[in-house]
């Protein structure tokens, strides 16, 4: 069958984060996921801004990979995410 996706986005300061979920998704919790990720970046970079992500894109990916895996939430403790290698 054909899959349909919903696109969600969230704005934090000048940063836009966009995310696609399948039709089973709870949209509100997805917004929480985005928010959580932004806070992770915030903690790591100390008040994240666009340049931080641009110049450290690979780190943004590494952090994301400690938070989500295969499209599902992997770790809900910020502490655990940030102390990972």
């Amino acid at each position: 069958g054909t899959l349909s996706y919903s696109l969600l986005y969230s704005q934090h300061a000048s940063l836009y984060f966009c995310c696609a979920i399948g039709d089973q998704g709870n949209e509100l919790i997805t917004l929480e996921i985005i928010h959580h990720y932004v806070e992770l970046l915030d903690k790591y970079f100390g008040s994240v801004c666009e340049l931080d992500i641009i110049f450290n894109f690979e780190k943004a990916y590494f952090i994301l990979d400690e938070f989500l895996l295969g499209g599902e939430v992997l770790e809900t403790s910020k502490k655990n995410v940030l102390k990972a290698p």
Binding site: N26, E58, E72, N80
Partner: protein
């Protein structure tokens, strides 16, 4: 600027690219750097390989081609250094998806990395596997991942669990491997592992009914975990906005939903917990609302207690009042899904829903509209319609069509009175006429036609509306039709239900002519107007010169449809004037679905001489028909129950198709005056339609030049046995005094044997306070009537 020969650091490259002022400049910088990177790859410099790849990945993010880096990813993954591996795996995830040929080559590396003991490395491998693992890879590596599920390190276990989820999605048969470990994993303390396991179990249950059954046993345990989270576990590191690990809560709720669906026992077990979560969750922030939302979804999907369902709907109702638009959106969408199954619960929130109509945000107001329309029922229809009409007047154009049709539909289903129905439809047509569906016109004319008591009211209101605005086509069409049909009611007397309206004949004609000439009128509308004008020729008392003039003009109209009509009407005036009254009688009520009402039989019980009516037999003689035909031959008019009289207000049933159209018959048969008494005169006119030589149409016209009205007028006819006679309903039973509107009646006579025609008439009526009965045979019938 750095000299081009040495290798740029990643940050420097990024800087340089951002400094480019035009697209062309950027391209130049990137092309130059890519050339370096390619050279470096060729030379095989292991030290800087990871940096080169990183630069390439950045370039890739910007949208430039980077495929030549694919093999480098492989090399980096195979390197023993962690920094190499990390970038290599990232590159693999970005550049080496399933569609690439080199994709499979990473399988071996992943396998190696999974089995060697360093957590961080295992983590990388698992991550890549779950992001891009193809079905084949998953099959190959399933056992490796299974082993990792039992690893002591929580870090590895949590990643392995989610990797298993991915594998099952790709290769459902692998479920068998990953089902057994779940039970133990669910006992883990680590939130990440619990979360992953719950996701894994959800995935397993969705794919296999057997797994579903198996995991139902775990419902109590899941309930326990969730309860602990909600009540006791205040773990600071997992708390978000005061809610304990909302992600885990939501995931457990989702799993409970699947397990409780269609299963009484499981649903029971969860009942209390769901109620607890629903009432205790902090709703001040989105995290709490997200959990609440998932709870609502679960409650509605399982076999929950009625009280719980109401609670869920009420939560959604509260969501509607939330200031956060997303939450209102989510509430509206969910309520829409529930409105059929839990109608009364949703009804309670109707006022709030109606408030949401006025949302500035289009996606919200659209859903509010849909939901409002679904909530209309017979008890609230008037209030709701009022609200919806208000909305219709100010809503954006793309919603107008939906709103208008919705109102009309609701009106059709729940109208308390016909008058209300007409009023409502009228209002919709005036407000949003251009957006209504095509059948709105037909429906309204049907509605008006069937409400005899409201004819006067309708025609007056429509006349006023039309006089104000002739641009809204559906309204114009209905109004012109109505004026044509009931023009006489418009002019005479007054109607208590509307304000007194003095309308002159000339005004009416002028209005119709305006419609006819207006450039805003569609061709169909002009057709309506022309026909209405012609109909008025029999309804109005004045002379018809003005009408005849207009009709005459349109004979040369460019629009073919109008031209044809005009020609036909013109002919009607000139050559068939005696038939005009009959043809232009009020239309009988058309059946829904458009089929013309069949000619009905009219029976008289009175005397033996009178013929029965029977429908003209087109089909082979059925036994039922035989009975009727017997009656036809026999002089006994016996007591067959008459079929119900035509319900239309004195409409003459005319099959227009049977009447002659444009080409005139060879020679018109002269009229015949057959009766005259104290000012009441009866004339017969004859028509032999060319296509049917055995058919004779007689129109009886009764005129009254005396000073008193003739009332309760009934005319009956009888013919010899070999003939078949059909009396159609007369135009009325009153022949008004002083040369008022004549009464007409059509007789259809079939003469298959071409026998000489004989006709007997019986009249009964009241005149000057006396009841009169006359029976006589018509003499001097013209031979052309039957030869």
């Amino acid at each position: 600027m750095v000299a081009s020969s040495s290798s740029l650091k990643l940050q420097d490259l990024i800087q340089e690219i951002r400094e480019a002022k035009t697209q062309a400049q950027e391209r130049e910088v990137i092309q130059k750097e890519c050339a370096h990177i390619r050279a470096s790859f060729r030379d095989g410099d292991p030290l800087h390989r990871h940096r080169q790849l990183a630069k390439l990945l950045y370039v890739h993010l910007l949208g430039y081609p980077a495929h030549f880096g694919q093999m480098e990813c492989l090399k980096l993954i195979a390197s023993p250094r962690f920094t190499d591996k990390r970038v290599g795996y990232l590159g693999a995830m970005l550049l080496l998806d399933e569609r690439q040929d080199a994709h499979l080559l990473i399988t071996n590396s992943i396998k190696n990395d999974l089995s060697q003991g360093i957590q961080a490395v295992q983590g990388l491998a698992l991550c890549t596997l779950s992001a891009t693992g193809s079905a084949e890879m998953c099959r190959d590596l399933a056992t490796e991942v299974e082993k990792l599920l039992l690893q002591p390190s929580a870090y590895v276990r949590k990643k392995a669990v989610l990797t298993a989820v991915h594998m099952i999605r790709k290769v459902p048969e692998l479920s068998d491997i990953f089902l057994p470990p779940c039970a133990q994993l669910l006992h883990d303390d680590h939130h990440g592992i619990l979360l992953g396991t719950t996701t894994l179990i959800t995935e397993l249950c969705e794919r296999s009914p057997a797994a579903l059954k198996h995991f139902r046993k775990m419902v109590p345990q899941l309930v326990h975990i969730l309860r602990t989270l909600v009540t006791t576990g205040y773990s600071k590191e997992h708390s978000i906005s005061g809610v304990s690990d909302p992600f885990l809560q939501v995931q457990i709720l989702r799993l409970l939903r699947i397990l409780g669906r269609n299963h009484e026992e499981s649903s029971e077990t969860m009942n209390d917990l769901l109620a607890q979560v629903a009432t205790n969750t902090d709703t001040s922030r989105n995290a709490g609302n997200a959990v609440l939302f998932e709870t609502v979804l679960t409650i509605m999907d399982i076999r929950s207690a009625a009280g719980l369902r109401v609670l869920a709907v009420n939560i959604l109702g509260r969501f509607l009042l939330n200031t956060d638009r997303n939450i209102r959106y989510v509430a509206l969408t969910s309520l829409l899904r529930l409105v059929q199954s839990d109608h009364s619960a949703v009804q309670r929130h109707r006022p709030t829903v109606v408030e949401c109509l006025w949302e500035p945000d289009g996606s919200l107001s659209r859903r509010a509209l849909e939901l409002s329309l679904a909530l209309v029922n017979s008890s609230n229809v008037q209030a709701m319609t009022q609200e919806l009409q208000g909305f219709l007047e100010s809503c954006p154009p793309d919603l107008q069509a939906n709103c208008a049709s919705g109102i009309l539909l609701a009106a059709e289903r729940f109208a308390p009175t016909k008058r209300w129905h007409i009023d409502t439809t009228l209002r919709v047509l005036t407000t949003a006429g251009t957006h209504v569906r095509d059948d709105a016109v037909a429906n309204l004319t049907q509605l008006i036609g069937g409400a005899q008591e409201l004819h006067a009211y309708s025609v007056r209101r429509l006349y006023s509306a039309l006089a104000e605005d002739i641009s809204q086509q559906p309204l114009v069409q209905v109004a012109t039709w109505c004026i044509g049909e009931y023009g006489d009611l418009l002019l005479e007397g007054s109607c208590e239900e509307t304000e007194p309206l003095q309308v002159e004949e000339e005004e009416v004609l002028a209005l119709l002519e305006r419609v006819l000439q207006s450039h805003m009128s569609l061709p169909a509308t002009r057709g309506y107007a022309l026909t209405a004008l012609v109909k008025l020729s029999t309804r109005l008392r004045g002379d018809n010169n003005r009408i005849r003039q207009v009709v005459s003009i349109y004979r040369s109209c460019l629009d073919v449809e109008l031209q044809q009509r005009a020609v036909e009407y013109n002919t009607l005036f000139r050559k068939y004037d005696h038939m005009r009254a009959a043809i232009l009688e009020k239309i009988p009520l058309v059946e829904r679905g458009g089929s013309q009402v069949d000619e009905e039989a009219k029976e008289s019980k009175e005397t033996a001489q009178l013929s029965e009516a029977a429908p003209v037999p087109t089909e082979p003689q059925a036994s039922k028909l035989l009975d009727l035909l017997d009656l036809l031959d026999g002089p006994s008019g016996d007591a067959q129950h008459p079929p119900p009289l035509d319900p239309t207000p004195g409409g003459a049933l005319i099959h227009l198709l049977n009447l002659p159209c444009a080409p005139p018959p060879p020679a018109p048969i002269p009229n015949l005056k057959v009766f005259e008494r104290e000012g009441l005169q009866l004339d017969l006119s004859f028509v032999r339609p060319p296509g049917t030589p055995t058919l004779l149409l007689i129109t009886v016209t009764a005129t009254n030049t005396s000073g008193g009205d003739v009332t309760h007028f009934i005319c009956q006819a009888a013919v010899p046995k070999s003939f078949q006679l059909q009396l159609q309903a007369p135009s009325g039973d009153t022949v008004p005094a002083q040369g008022g509107l004549p009464m007409t009646q059509l007789l259809r006579i079939l003469n298959p044997k071409k026998a000489p025609l004989r006709l007997k008439l019986r009249l009964t009526y009241n005149h000057f306070g006396q009841s009169v009965q006359e029976i006589f045979e018509v003499n001097n019938l013209p031979v052309e009537a039957w030869q």
